[in-house]
């Protein structure tokens, strides 16, 4: 066995790290305060290849692998959880299903602009009454000649506000539950698409979380993604891969908070010594680091399994669960180490604390991850 990153992955890691240090870290606080990732940063991340890392060069992707993608999201999220989820939702949830289930024509048409970040992608599955239970989808479609006509609404759509390309799920017969669902590639600038609101959130405030209404949104038949009625399978397969992205985001947030807490514990003096000399702080650091490393191993393993075309469903569920819980734990403990300063916005720990929580909820709640894991154990 070998747990080292390859030389190529190390080169990538240090390149991403340099970029993040200079271009993202200095503005992370502003991104949170202004609820906005500057367009210039999105453009730069596109030019860096962060928005199409593991897709082939023929579709303007970087041609790297899933592990590279995990590293990119991790490194970016160390500085900014909002930018991390932009990359993750775009790459895994929009480019991902188009690449996996699209026809060659669809890939050629949609992927280049997505992979280079010219257009930002999103995944439109969640509805007010269909979250963990996607079978409850109430957005409906009917066929009219060469078009599908879609009516309904979606909520909590990460990256929705960019009005880019979306992979949208709709049903043609609610009685069929998940078997009635199909997936469509939609241009969200089309007539019939309305943004109801971009949510105001506790964390990842720089990232759009959008509610949409669809009123007779007309989609050409060639935009059907995969077979009609197979939308649920596409959604589940997509979320499988997406979990590696969100796990990497959570890991990055945890690492960002840990690095700061470790440094602070060595600088901050109380009772005549750095607080890192106190066992109470030492034990916290040990617990935090152990959870970070455990999550990292599981994420890299899940990515490795995917890269090697092996089944990774269980590992992706486990890595998402472990890393998100590490993120909420580590950011909480980091704030405790920072004491009162951690509660002050200038020290950035409070932002990481707020950013961490969502990772236990989205891309399948951790309860759903436990269902996935236990089902596989017991099947």
């Amino acid at each position: 066995m070998n747990f080292d990153l390859s030389q190529d992955h190390k080169v990538l890691q240090s390149a991403v790290r340099d970029f993040v240090e200079k271009e993202i870290k200095p503005i992370a606080m502003k991104i949170d305060e202004e609820h906005m990732i500057p367009d210039a940063l999105v453009k730069m991340m596109g030019e860096m290849g962060f928005l199409g890392s593991y897709f082939p060069e023929e579709y303007s992707g970087a041609g790297l692998d899933m592990l590279s993608y995990a590293i990119v999201v991790e490194e970016v999220s160390k500085a900014c959880g909002s930018s991390g989820v932009l990359i993750s939702a775009h790459t895994s949830l929009c480019n991902g299903p188009i690449y996996t289930f699209g026809t060659p024509e669809q890939k050629k048409k949609w992927l280049p602009a997505l992979n280079t970040g010219e257009i930002i992608g999103c995944f439109l599955l969640t509805e007010p009454n269909a979250g963990s239970d996607a079978g409850g989808t109430a957005t409906m479609y009917t066929r009219e000649g060469d078009e599908f006509v879609i009516n309904g609404g979606k909520i909590f759509i990460t990256n929705g506000g960019y009005l880019g390309t979306g992979v949208l799920f709709a049903s043609h017969d609610r009685a069929l539950k998940h078997k009635g669902i199909s997936a469509f590639i939609v241009d969200l600038k089309s007539p019939g698409v309305t943004i109801l609101k971009n949510e105001n959130k506790m964390g990842i405030r720089g990232s759009y979380t959008t509610a949409f209404a669809f009123d007779n949104l007309r989609v050409p038949v060639e935009n059907l993604l995969g077979q009609e009625g197979k939308g649920f399978n596409i959604a589940m397969d997509t979320l499988n891969g997406g979990r590696i992205g969100i796990a990497s985001q959570a890991l990055g947030i945890a690492e960002g908070a840990f690095e700061r807490a470790l440094a602070y514990s060595k600088e901050r003096k109380q009772f005549g010594q750095p607080i890192s000399e106190f066992q109470g702080i030492q034990f916290k650091l040990a617990d935090m680091y152990a959870r970070i490393e455990t999550s990292k191993l599981m994420i890299y393993k899940a990515a490795w399994l995917k890269d090697n075309k092996m089944n990774y469903t269980m590992e992706s569920a486990m890595c998402k669960m472990l890393a998100s819980e590490a993120a909420t734990y580590v950011t909480k403990e980091a704030m405790q180490i920072f004491g009162g300063y951690g509660f002050i916005c200038d020290y950035e720990i409070e932002r990481m604390y707020r950013d961490a929580k969502i990772t236990e909820i989205y891309e399948g709640t951790n309860e759903v991850q436990r269902v996935v894991i236990s089902k596989m154990l017991l099947s």
Partner: protein, 258 residues
């Protein structure tokens, strides 16, 4: 045209350095390595020239050291170098600047390079001797610590940084070697697609024994942290006396009043 850029991989300067077992250099265990900062300016300048000259120009990056230096080589390839020479030498850190320069010169001598770029010095050893010695050994024109670079039709126009912020302009005919200083350019980030493309670029591995024919002229005999500073000095007396004492100390120990 043929261009060569020489790079070194050095430890992250924020690392904690401990002496190695022999006490003559730092212990490499647990250190994170990266490309020497000045060499990044050299690579960037070489790549800019490579892009300006276009087809028919070949840019080679060279590094001496153990296998880990391939990381720095790959970064240079991702920044735009065409191919690489890795002079494989697990003991490179023990060699003096004369030997390192001799190895580079031995590699470069029959290859017809027109311009060689190096950093002005390494961040770890900091001798600033390798570049100029390579130029001397190859019989190349040479200028150092450049902060501006232009090339046209066999002539380099380099802007140099002199003491006290004064600038100088130097013109030199190729073949030539320049050593690069902070302020010359802003090195580009290697993008993911270019990291991927770099995987296909050729890295020639040459065992150092094939090129090394010189003995060291200087040896580092000790590597150690500075002696721990004593506690602060408490001055006593009336104000006039205190001022005199402070001025005397500042003159003696610092450069602020010189």
């Amino acid at each position: 045209m043929k261009l060569l850029v020489c790079i070194k991989q050095v430890p992250d300067l924020e690392s904690r350095f401990k002496p190695d077992a022999a006490g003559t250099w730092y212990n490499e265990a647990d250190l994170a390595f990266r490309m020497n900062e000045y060499d990044e300016y050299a690579v960037e300048q070489a790549v800019q020239l490579r892009e300006k000259l276009g087809e028919g120009t070949e840019l080679t990056v060279l590094s001496i050291g153990p296998d880990r230096v391939v990381e720095a080589i790959k970064k240079s390839l991702a920044m735009g170098c065409d191919n690489a020479a890795h002079i494989q030498d697990p003991a490179a850190s023990g060699k003096d600047p004369w030997q390192i320069a001799s190895i580079i010169a031995a590699y470069a001598k029959d290859k017809g390079f027109d311009i060689v770029f190096t950093g002005m010095q390494s961040q770890d050893r900091g001798s600033a001797q390798v570049g100029v010695t390579v130029a001397e050994l190859l019989g190349f024109a040479c200028t150092t610590t450049i902060v501006g670079f232009d090339y046209d039709n066999g002539t380099i126009t380099a802007k140099r940084e002199l003491e006290g912020g004064i600038k100088g302009i130097v013109k030199l005919k190729t073949p030539a070697l320049v050593t690069c200083q902070l302020g010359l350019n802003i090195p580009r980030y290697p993008t993911l697609p270019n990291i991927m493309k770099a995987k296909k670029k050729e890295i020639t591995v040459i065992p150092v024994a094939e090129l090394l024919a010189t003995e060291a002229l200087a040896a580092t005999t000790s590597f150690h942290p500075p002696a721990k500073k004593g506690g602060g000095i408490v001055l006593e007396g009336d104000v006039g006396e205190l001022v005199d004492k402070v001025i005397a100390i500042l003159k003696d120990k610092t450069a602020v009043l010189r």
